[in-house]
Structure formats: structure tokens, C-alpha cells
């Protein structure tokens, strides 16, 4: 069971294409695993075993006829429950949208359907991708598969937990201030916030229009690149969508590190915020590995993290409040405590402050991109701390803002979270690899070279 549960997308695709693995047997094995273990992890808000089996039977028939669609044909996936799947509720994990049935697929769901993926169900999220982990919602919060007493990150909490737990090899999440990369770091999986506009947001419930990104969580870098290749593409009906080819996200995998220049933004986790010693040690050890592979590592300096975070949060709160104002007027009691408080932060932001935040964003992003002219990619922390306990609201509050992800929602460029080891308590550690807009293939190349030189993505949690 554990062997099939932790198959990578790439390995499963080979077996499926070669008719050595049946999509139906694959789906059944994962459905059984979910039924057996998810009652303790809550990664799924709504499993969809009937749909999964239907998709799997269809994939099997097509593959048997020799009509193989590509690496996701017959491969299970899940969607964060802010992403529409026709005929199922999109609840955003909130009482507000409990009965909100999607009339059509989100574009990312359409793309995975067209790729022949096997839909396993809707995954837990923080309420409206902002309020969590919460115990006052209609569904419980997802827990960390490495230790269910701990936070699994968020807001794409179920996407991270389900992928790490071996419930599926790939999931879709969203990221406005770090919500793909946080659960990736906390759960020891790989999460990509790709370039703004590369993946359509149509059919995904918005948190903050100008910062929202949709993207993949997987257990390996190669799988992540394979999934982004499926998800990416111009959507003329998404006003933020860009008509730019990635050149193939897997195109640079295996080219190694020799000659690449890495800029380390060390001040984010040593001066602006003091990272947990184990997290810092994990990142520094990873940099040594990259250096040993032939990269040139140098330190680079950008604006203080406090300025980036203030800018991100001012924009996020303002845009989120505009989206939620009607419901906050009419039914504020139907929000969970955390989402209500975080969204209310936008109620009295002055227009001038919002606009100034967007002006600051432009300056910060331009300066950062100029800084990246001198290197190929940047590396920095993702979270400052390993996952805290999920039942300790003070620890959640204390560590929630201790992260260095929000800057890259502002720059709009790709930011990949990869595992870099484990804490003494056995909880995952992670770092980010950051690139200029549209350099996903290069960012994946660096992540893949590091992954191949280490063992972290081959470690999996043992579910009790």
C-alpha cells in the first residue's frame, strides 16, 4: 500500500502508460487509504470516490485503446475548496458558502480533466484562504501528517496534508501571501507559486485580486513542473492572465548547478526576523549542498521584510474587504473568528494607503528584479519556524506572520518551496527558491538539482 501511495506522478505515468498499473486499482488504493486515515487528518473537506472511480475507468479505457493523453492521464489529484468543480459545492471552508454549488469547472479543473486526471475530491482550506486553522467552522482544520498535533500550514492546508500523507500525488492550491508555500514547508512537500498570470484564476474564489496565484503542490520537484505544465496557459477571460509561454517547466531539469549564481537573502531570516535555529541550519546546509554542486553562492540584500509584509498585507486586507463587505454587513456571525478578524483589517484602510501600497509594490518589485540581474535565482527562508502545535492559538498567532513568502506575491515572480530536512522533533523544514518572472524552468532546475543530491523528498510520514 505504502509503495503505491507514494508513487510520484512521473513514476505513475510511466507505469500507467506502459499498462503496468491500472488507473482504477491506483485510485482504489488511494481511496482506501483516505477512508482509513483521513478521519484523523481532515485533509479532505469532501472526498469524491465516485467521481474518482468514474475518471479512473475512463482513463483506463482510453489508455487500453492506446490513447495516452500525457503524464496526468490516470493520475489522482485534489483541489483546494476555493476552486470550482462543476456540480460540487465550493465552500471555501465557510458557512457563508455552504450551499454554493459550482455551475462550471474552474479553468485549472478543466485543464486537469482534459489531461485525464482522476479527481479525488475537495481539500480543506483556511476559511476563504485567510482564516485558519479554525475550530469554529462547519468542518475541522487539516492536520500535519508528520504529527497530527501540529499545524500543517495554510491556507492550502488540505492540499499540503493530503500530498504529504500519500492520499494523492498532486494537489492544486492558491497563494496570496504564501498559502501554497506555507503548507509545502510545514508538510515537507514541494509547492510552487508561479509567475502572476501564468495560471488562470477563473473559477477560483478570490482573496486579493492583484496578489492571488493558483499553483501545484506535489512530493517532488519534477512532479511539480509536470503539473504546472498542465495548469499554465493564457486565459483571455482572466484579466490578470498573461500570454507568455513557459518554454516547458521540465525543460531544464537535470542540467545541474554548475555555473549558476545564487543570491541568498539572508537578512530576511537572520536580521529582519530571527529564524528558528533548526530552520536556519537547514537552509544554510542546503546552500552548502548547492555550492558543492557547482553553484556560486553570494549574499544579496533587498528591502527589510517588514516593508514587504506591510505592503502585502495592506493590499491584501483592502482587496479582501472589498470582496467580503456585503457579507460582513449582512451576516458577520457566519464567519469563523480568524477570517472575520483578518478581513475586517481592511474596513478602515484609507484609499490613499491602499494606493500608496500599490505604488510601493511597484518600486519594491522593480528594485528586486534589478537585484536579480546579478544572479540566476535567489534563496531565502519560507517559514521562520517549524510547525507549531495546532491547539495552541498563541503559538499560531505568534508564528503566523513569521515568514518570508509575501514579498514574492508582490514581485509576481516564481517562488518554490522545497524541503530541506527535519527538526529534532521530526517536523519538516523548508526554503524558497525565487526567480524572475517566467523563469519557472530555471527555478525548477535548481530545486531538482538540490532534491537529487538529498533524501528529503523520499521521506514520508508514517500514519498511525
Amino acid at each position: 500500500m505504502s509503495e503505491i501511495a507514494f508513487l510520484t506522478v512521473a513514476a505513475a505515468a510511466e507505469l500507467l502508460r506502459g499498462k503496468k498499473l491500472s488507473p482504477v486499482e491506483y485510485a482504489k488504493a488511494l481511496i482506501e487509504r483516505i477512508e482509513h486515515h483521513d478521519g484523523r487528518l481532515n485533509a479532505f473537506l469532501r472526498p469524491a470516490p465516485e467521481i474518482a472511480l468514474e475518471d479512473a475507468h475512463r482513463a483506463e479505457a482510453e489508455i487500453m485503446r492506446g490513447n495516452w493523453r500525457g503524464p496526468f492521464h490516470g493520475v489522482p489529484y485534489g483541489l483546494k475548496d476555493i476552486i470550482d468543480y462543476a456540480g460540487l459545492p465550493t465552500t471555501a471552508h465557510s458557512k457563508i458558502l455552504e450551499r454554493n454549488v459550482a455551475g462550471a469547472d474552474a479553468v485549472v479543473a478543466q485543464k486537469l480533466r482534459a489531461a485525464g486526471g482522476v479527481f479525488m475530491g475537495k481539500l480543506s482550506t483556511h476559511e476563504f484562504a485567510v482564516g485558519g486553522p479554525s475550530f469554529d467552522l462547519p468542518w475541522p482544520p487539516a492536520r500535519n501528517p508528520w504529527n497530527r498535533g501540529h499545524f500543517c500550514g495554510g491556507s492550502s492546508s488540505g492540499s499540503g496534508a493530503a500530498t504529504a500523507a500519500g492520499f494523492l500525488p498532486a494537489a492544486v492550491g492558491s497563494d496570496t501571501g504564501g498559502s501554497i508555500r506555507n503548507p509545502a514547508t510545514m508538510c515537507g512537500v514541494v509547492g510552487m507559486k508561479a509567475t502572476y498570470g501564468l495560471v488562470s484564476r477563473r473559477g477560483v474564489f478570490p482573496l486579493a485580486f492583484s496578489l492571488d496565484h493558483v499553483g501545484p503542490l506535489t512530493r517532488t520537484v519534477q512532479d511539480n513542473a509536470l503539473m504546472l505544465d498542465v495548469l499554465a496557459g493564457h486565459d483571455p477571460l482572466d484579466p490578470g492572465s498573461v500570454n507568455a509561454a513557459t518554454g516547458g517547466c521540465t525543460s531544464e531539469l537535470g542540467r545541474g548547478m554548475r555555473g549558476l549564481r545564487i543570491g541568498v537573502i539572508r537578512h530576511f531570516y537572520t536580521r529582519d526576523m530571527e529564524g528558528d535555529p533548526e530552520m536556519v541550519a537547514g537552509i544554510e546546509a542546503a546552500l552548502k549542498v548547492l555550492e558543492s554542486l557547482g553553484a556560486e553562492v553570494r549574499e544579496i540584500e533587498t528591502a527589510p521584510l517588514s516593508e514587504w509584509n506591510a505592503c502585502n498585507r495592506t493590499i491584501l486586507a483592502s482587496e479582501a474587504y472589498a470582496i467580503h463587505e456585503k457579507w460582513l454587513r449582512e451576516r458577520p456571525q457566519d464567519y469563523g473568528r480568524l477570517a472575520r478578524e483578518r478581513i475586517l483589517a481592511g474596513a478602515f484602510v484609507r484609499a490613499a494607503d491602499y494606493i500608496n501600497a500599490t505604488r510601493v509594490r511597484g518600486k519594491l518589485a522593480r528594485a528586486f528584479h534589478a537585484l536579480l540581474d546579478g544572479v540566476d535565482v535567489a534563496v531565502t527562508a519560507s517559514s521562520m519556524d517549524p510547525a507549531c502545535r495546532i491547539d495552541d492559538p498563541e503559538a499560531i498567532e505568534r508564528t503566523y506572520g513569521r515568514q518570508a513568502r509575501a514579498p514574492f506575491n508582490l514581485t509576481g515572480g516564481p517562488a518554490l518551496s522545497v524541503p530541506v530536512g527535519f527538526s529534532g522533533a521530526g517536523l519538516p523544514l523548508g526554503m524558497q527558491i525565487i526567480g524572475k518572472p517566467f523563469t519557472e524552468a530555471l527555478v525548477y532546475r535548481v530545486g531538482h538539482a538540490y532534491e537529487q543530491a538529498t533524501e528529503w523528498t523520499r521521506s514520508h510520514p508514517v500514519l498511525g
Binding site: 517588514s306 516593508e307 506591510a310 498585507r313 495592506t314 472575520r340 483578518r342 483589517a345 474596513a347 505604488r359
Partner: protein, 67 residues
């Protein structure tokens, strides 16, 4: 809006923007959230902005708009 605002003043201000159904607990949340937003505003490096520094995202006319 200042940090010294009392809850009755906040209730009045909330009502002015249509937030008439917030109970006392919600108002306490609004107070904390607003203070946090003010701290972020203070941390925003807006003083260095020049008049011509435009927002990161600006309106762009489309050649085929309205078709």
C-alpha cells in the same frame, strides 16, 4: 482613526460604513484588526514615493475593447 478610540466610537464608525450587525466581540476584533492595519501603514515606506510613482497595476486601454 487613532489607537485611543473607544468601543462606542468604533460602533458608530462601523455603522457609518454599513457594519451594523457586529456584536461586541466582533467590534473588539475590528478594533484589534484596525490597530494592526495602522501598524502596517506606519511600516509602509510611502514617504519616499515621488508624485510620478504609479501603482503597480494600472489601467490599460484595449484596442478591441467593447467588441
Amino acid at each position: 482613526m487613532t489607537n485611543e478610540i473607544d468601543i462606542e466610537e468604533l460602533r458608530r464608525m462601523a455603522a457609518e460604513i454599513g457594519l451594523t450587525r457586529l456584536d461586541d466581540e466582533h467590534l473588539q476584533q475590528l478594533l484589534r484588526a484596525t490597530k494592526a492595519a495602522q501598524q502596517r501603514r506606519a511600516a509602509l515606506p510611502a514617504a519616499g514615493l515621488l508624485p510620478a510613482d504609479e501603482p503597480a497595476h494600472v489601467f490599460r486601454a484595449e484596442r478591441d475593447a467593447g467588441r
